[in-house]
Symmetry: C2
Subunit: 190 residues, 2 copies
């Protein structure tokens, strides 16, 4: 109910609950897949789930089958789904790109199941437009670092960042092409 701002972990949980799960299930996903960047510790997960429930974004139901330990299965409420959609569809800014791709990729990963392929395509385009000026900014910085006063390793580190964003830019084109191919085969919805 409270309009508290939701941290990244909250959205990650909300998104994963598209498939109803217990806190323990979610922890396992975080610790076993490439989502290790999110905490799999109970001290983070369980309070986060309770906050989401308090805010009316998810609801938990205790499951008590015989021969089964007590577990609480959470699933998103309509309000939770709406919040998730709104978060996914946010336009991507230069700042988002600078302060970590993790969140952006999480939004993209969820986009298709939550909102459909059109939203995924829109996100890709939004990302691509944010990427171009950011890359230019990085290249300008590199120019400024070409002085011999700057160590080779510092310059190389920046070059690493540039390459990584160039690779990301290529990926967006690849991803868009993938959707285009798919769109021709299935319905070109809307």
């Amino acid at each position: 109910m409270a309009p508290t701002r939701i941290p990244a972990l909250g959205y990650a949980l909300l998104g994963m609950l598209q498939k109803p799960s217990s806190g323990y299930d979610l922890r396992k996903v975080f610790s076993s897949t490439s989502m290790k960047s999110y905490s799999d510790s109970p001290g983070a997960i369980y309070p986060a789930l309770h906050r989401l429930e308090r805010d009316g974004l998810i609801r938990g139901r205790v499951e008590q089958r015989s021969g089964m330990r007590r577990r609480q299965i959470f699933r998103p409420t309509p309000k939770g789904v709406a919040e998730l959609k709104q978060w996914i569809a946010l336009p991507i800014t230069r700042e988002d790109v600078g302060s970590g791709l993790k969140t952006i990729m999480l939004r993209f990963a969820f986009s298709e199941t939550v909102m459909g392929a059109d939203a995924s395509v829109a996100l890709l385009k939004s990302l691509d437009s944010a990427l171009t000026p950011y890359l230019q900014h990085l290249r300008e910085q590199l120019q400024a670092m070409m002085s011999p006063a700057v160590s080779t390793s510092a310059r190389l580190a920046l070059e690493c960042g540039i390459r990584s964003f160039e690779s990301l830019s290529e990926w967006t084109r690849y991803a868009l092409a993938t959707y285009e191919k798919q769109g021709r085969k299935t319905s070109g919805s809307k």
Copy 2:
């Protein structure tokens, strides 16, 4: 003096203080360069500096030139330099790679000025060895995601990660080649 664990921001500050600066200087660097991922807010920087000073890793001197506002210039103590070196030289593990390149690249960026080119090369090799098994792990996950039950966007998101690490792997080779070229021209120290 206290053996408190130092957060990433602390090391970032410690490293930048290779060039003695005030808190305000550091804030400007964080807000104007590609290090925006670190907080440029006074509520983060100043307490962090005071913690480092309390632990004896840096020392501040108040500068009071006429026609100048009062500013406090910090510089690392020998103990601070030792701590920084130790942090930079830590071997890179699979876990480090999984939980964000940011820290690793920061260590690399500092490595040359703090410890010399040999340390930079060692870091690159360490990174490369950690990268190979991690990439394999990601590729295995991709195989598992090839089922049609998984959305295209989720799969593409993982592919993005894989590509980014492949690009990183290429960069390590490029960086090593750069140092090799440099080594032939200058002293091949050690």
